[in-house]
């Protein structure tokens, strides 16, 4: 099959409130993901990164309303009926959440959790499903899989349980993995192991991955391209290996300056004033303008477009003034 694996165009999500006025959470997200590609979505609270994943899987809250289109392998996800939607969620996309303990039934054994979808949806015989589950547990680096299948979630560590969740996703052999802060609750050495496993399996199986995180450096290490989100919009999209030196949006630069470095102490961190906002809290102009050192009155009037700049896409009306593009040797992404 040709064409992109996933295509979002103008994806917008509003949520109804008690007073009747809808609140915008996502505002016009355009993204494409090629087969086998890893794309990072990076942002702070309210940026809309988790809502994007929920919209892709059609798991939005009941009060939310999505518009725009989501295409998976060319098919319109919004138009899928019951059986098509089940097939899409069963074998098309797989979800890895931040907190595996909140998403794995604590009263059932690991084995029962892992084989449920295979046995129920795909009518795989129980014995064969258990054998497959054991094989996948070994693939994600779990020793003695046969014993683990008989254990309950509370008997194993958070890092191992996250591997179990990844294993459960792999068993369905999806073409796309959506990983929502999959390592945020884990210790840093365990995080390193888990992202290495995700990365290896993605490459081996040619799966696409949308990797959501608040940690820009982690996204850069795991993904080929990274989209930085703010207030429900993409503000910068760039290849991971050039983002550090070419970050053009003031918010991206601010995120990079906010993070302390491990190899030196900054006299002062270049903190961004104010706090992150959601799309519905922002005015009609640039949502970042109230926190931006480069903002001019015009920035608050009109929303900037996502435009090409220095090999990436940037949503800033003043980008050419504040950061002149260097002569670019390679073609733009």
């Amino acid at each position: 099959m040709s064409g992109p694996l996933l295509e979002l165009s103008g994806l917008t999500v509003d949520i109804a409130t008690e007073d009747g006025a809808p609140r915008t959470l996502l505002d016009g997200i355009d993204l494409t993901l090629a087969r086998g590609e890893a794309l990072g979505l990076v942002g702070e609270s309210g940026s809309g990164k988790s809502m994007t994943v929920r919209a892709i899987t059609r798991l939005l809250p009941a009060a939310a309303r999505a518009s725009g289109t989501i295409r998976f392998e060319g098919a319109d996800v919004g138009a899928m009926d019951g059986s098509a939607l089940r097939a899409y969620r069963d074998g098309g996309v797989g979800l890895v959440f931040q907190d595996p303990r909140a998403h794995i039934n604590p009263t059932r054994r690991i084995g029962a959790f892992l084989i449920e979808a295979l046995v129920r949806n795909r009518k795989v015989p129980r014995r064969e499903a258990l054998a497959r589950a054991a094989a996948v547990l070994a693939e994600v680096g779990i020793d003695d899989p046969a014993r683990r299948l008989r254990q309950y979630p509370h008997e194993i560590s958070g890092g191992m349980l996250q591997r179990v969740m990844i294993a459960s996703v792999l068993l369905a052999e999806p073409r796309l993995i959506l990983a929502d802060e999959p390592t945020t609750a884990l210790d840093v050495t365990i995080q390193q192991e888990v992202v290495a496993i995700l990365d290896r399996l993605r490459r081996e199986r040619g799966m696409g991955m949308v990797f959501i995180t608040h940690d820009l450096d982690l996204a850069l290490a795991v993904c080929g391209r990274v989209a930085v989100m703010y207030a429900g919009r993409i503000v910068e999209l760039r290849s991971a290996d050039t983002l550090h030196e070419r970050a053009a949006h003031p918010y991206t630069a601010g995120l990079l300056g906010s993070r302390p470095a491990i190899d030196r102490r900054a006299e002062r961190l270049a903190a961004i004033p104010g706090r992150p906002v959601s799309a519905f809290e922002s005015g009609q102009g640039c949502a970042f303008a109230p926190r931006c050192a480069h903002a001019r009155p015009a920035c608050e009037q009109r929303p900037p477009e996502l435009t090409e700049f220095d090999g990436g896409l940037v949503r800033c009306a003043r980008v050419t003034e504040i950061r002149p593009a260097r002569p670019s040797k390679e073609a733009s992404v």
């Binding site: 702070e44 609270s45 958070g158 210790d187 840093v188 050495t189 365990i190 995080q191 390193q192 192991e193 992202v195 290495a196 496993i197 990365d199 290896r200 608040h214 940690d215 820009l216 450096d217 982690l218 850069l220 290490a221 795991v222 550090h244 601010g254 995120l255 300056g257 906010s258 993070r259 302390p260 470095a261 491990i262 190899d263 030196r264 102490r265 900054a266 002062r268 961190l269 270049a270 903190a271 961004i272 004033p273 706090r275 992150p276």
Partner: protein, 270 residues
């Protein structure tokens, strides 16, 4: 502010500190084993470790929420290895050392505004007149960067960063000499974390407060601390000057921790 110790006194002195928890059926778990360290007056020590390293248990023993199984803790030269016997002593200990917890959502009273929370501590400690208290309250609200409107709001109407500013103001209200920061910036958004780290650096520069930062984040420790102690499984792996330990770790575990942190150029490897 009066000083309890002498010029050479350590702000915090911990010797052979051990904590054993007894579980069901007599199972013993040694959470902290034989840990010793000093923090000089005005110094800043980072205690780093992963889950189960014992770092939070150490913080809880320092504030008196857990009782050491053995070993000694002294703050400003005064022993606090045993629970305070009387309210007077508890009050004195609180004026020596305060703590800011990780989660500003659960460590504040949901019914209290920032001003009310800080005012309560001021009434309890310090013996100020009503007029002095009001002045000090304004100073504290200003020092942690809360606006007047935020200071009157309840916790649910504040963001995570604003709540953490309230928690810091409340801790400072007792005029402590030592501030324990237990993962105090870990739950914050990156841009807010930078603001709070700058705020904590400013407060230390202005007041000469001693910090003891409990964290899993090596970069945060580097930014805020002079010295660092690496814990694993309740035991000290390595301790010393922050730059030395992080730039040239002597221990394999410290090196592994450092190399697991994603930095520019870091690649995913097994």
């Amino acid at each position: 502010m009066s000083t309890a110790g002498t010029d050479t006194a350590q702000a915090v002195e911990v010797r052979e500190l051990t904590k054993v928890f007894k579980g069901a059926r007599g199972v013993r778990h040694q959470a902290v084993a034989d840990v010793s360290f000093d923090v000089p007056v005005g110094g800043s020590l980072g205690i780093v470790g992963e889950s189960g390293s014992g770092k939070t248990t150490i913080a809880r023993m320092l504030v008196g929420l857990e009782r050491p199984t053995s070993g000694r803790i002294a703050v400003l030269g005064r022993d606090r290895s045993r629970p305070a016997r009387r309210g007077v002593e508890r009050g004195a200990r609180a004026r020596e050392l305060q703590i800011v917890f990780q989660d500003p959502y659960t460590s504040l009273d949901p019914r209290q505004s920032a001003r009310a929370a800080v005012a309560e501590v001021l009434r309890h400690h310090g013996g100020l007149t009503a007029e002095q208290r009001a002045k000090r309250l304004d100073e504290l609200v200003d020092q942690v960067g809360l606006t007047e409107r935020q200071a009157l709001a309840r916790p649910r109407d504040l963001s995570g960063g604003q709540r953490q500013r309230v928690a810091i103001a409340r801790a400072l209200a007792a005029r402590p000499r030592v501030l324990v920061l237990d993962e105090a910036v870990s739950a914050l958004d990156v841009s807010i974390q930078a603001q709070i780290l700058n705020l904590l650096a400013d407060i230390r520069a202005e007041t000469g407060l001693t910090y003891l930062l409990i964290s899993h984040d090596l970069a945060v420790v580097r930014q805020l601390c002079d010295t660092v102690l690496v814990l694993r499984g309740g035991r000290v792996v390595e301790q010393g000057d922050c730059a030395r330990v992080l730039d040239a770790p002597a221990e394999e575990y410290t090196r592994a921790l450092r190399e697991a942190v994603p930095v520019p150029g870091w690649t995913v490897g097994v």
